[in-house]
């Protein structure tokens, strides 16, 4: 079990569904959602938050600054 527990928020209206956060996440927290945002993209969704280790890789790779990362303390 990971020792650090993380939590992310994704601004789905900003998201362009590029998938770079999904590709970067080492614990496969994020998936593209089935729904659309108002721009017509399938936005990223934090489907498996329990796996998040607060590494910030998703934030670092997101070109649209959609992701906020927290550590649970």
């Amino acid at each position: 079990m990971p020792k650090v527990k993380g939590y992310i928020e994704i601004d789905q209206e900003r998201c362009k569904g590029c998938g770079l956060c999904i590709n970067a996440c080492p614990t496969k927290v994020i998936e593209l959602s089935e729904g659309f945002n108002s721009k017509g993209y399938h936005p990223a969704e934090a489907k498996h938050l329990e796996r998040c280790i607060a590494c910030g890789f998703c934030y670092r790779m997101c070109p649209d600054v959609c992701i906020t990362v927290y550590r649970e303390e």
Partner: protein, 250 residues
């Protein structure tokens, strides 16, 4: 209790970027904003936006700024910095802007040792105008103006701006980086910070060339574009620090 680790930096305005999905321009904007936040100089920093996809960069940063005519950002930044040496000025330029129409401006600003900072986004193509060959386009690479691939005989060789610039005595910091992995994003941030510190400490001109993707005009998806950059751009444009007179951060 939740402790905040990463959020949108204050030096971004929050306006949504106009870039295509997965385009590295957005990552590079965010890194500049994080560096300006960390240096605590947002209210004293001016951005000079180029002509290219990042033409609206001045709207995306939460700071004062302007747009220069194509390639002329280093000349405009020179004027701003000399008029107000108490402010910090950076140019944000694509490869069409900096390495084609603006080659003279960047060479001379660097050689004069203007105390400005340049972030040079090399995506090996003219993005904004629909994917024409740039001086930085790779040999064999297909663009709308090299439909059979760039040939050295007809179109010349890919232009290595850092290698050309590294003889300029006025340069305080010069590096080439990439942002296609989280680790590289962090390294690029450190390089951008040094290029700003070169100005903040009054040492001289600072430039970071960031190898960047253009998924739209490369005709591939964003994840494949990150791999393509690794496989094709790195052999042509090796990463490295060419000049560092800044030393340690403190």
């Amino acid at each position: 209790m939740k402790k905040l680790l990463y959020k949108m930096p204050e030096s971004l305005s929050g306006k949504e970027f106009t870039y295509c999905p997965g385009c590295h321009h957005g990552i590079i904007h965010r890194l500049i904003a994080e560096v300006v936040d960390e240096l605590g100089i947002r209210e004293k920093t001016l951005v000079v936006a180029p002509i290219g996809c990042s033409v609206f960069a001045y709207q995306f940063f939460n700071m004062d700024g302007t747009i220069a005519a194509h390639g002329r950002a280093p000349a405009v930044a020179t004027g701003m910095k000399r008029a107000r040496p108490d402010l910090y000025v950076f140019t944000y330029q694509g490869d069409g802007d900096l390495a084609a129409i603006g080659t003279a401006e960047i060479m001379h600003a660097a050689n004069r040792g203007e105390k400005i900072t340049t972030i040079f986004v090399n995506n090996a193509i003219y993005g904004m105008t629909g994917g024409q060959m740039a001086p930085t386009t790779l040999l064999g690479m297909k663009t709308t103006t090299t439909p059979y691939g760039r040939s050295a005989e007809n179109d010349g060789y890919p232009m290595h701006m850092c290698e050309f610039l590294k003889e300029a005595k006025g340069i305080a910091y010069l590096a080439r980086t990439k942002v296609n992995t989280p680790q590289d994003v962090e390294k690029t941030k450190k390089a951008i910070k040094k290029a700003f510190l070169a100005q903040v400490k009054g040492i001289g001109f600072g430039l970071v060339e960031v190898l960047s993707t253009c998924p739209t005009n490369w005709g591939i998806d964003p994840i494949s574009a990150n791999k393509w950059l690794e496989e094709h751009m790195i052999p042509e444009y090796p990463l490295g620090v060419f000049i560092d007179k800044v030393g340690d951060e403190k």
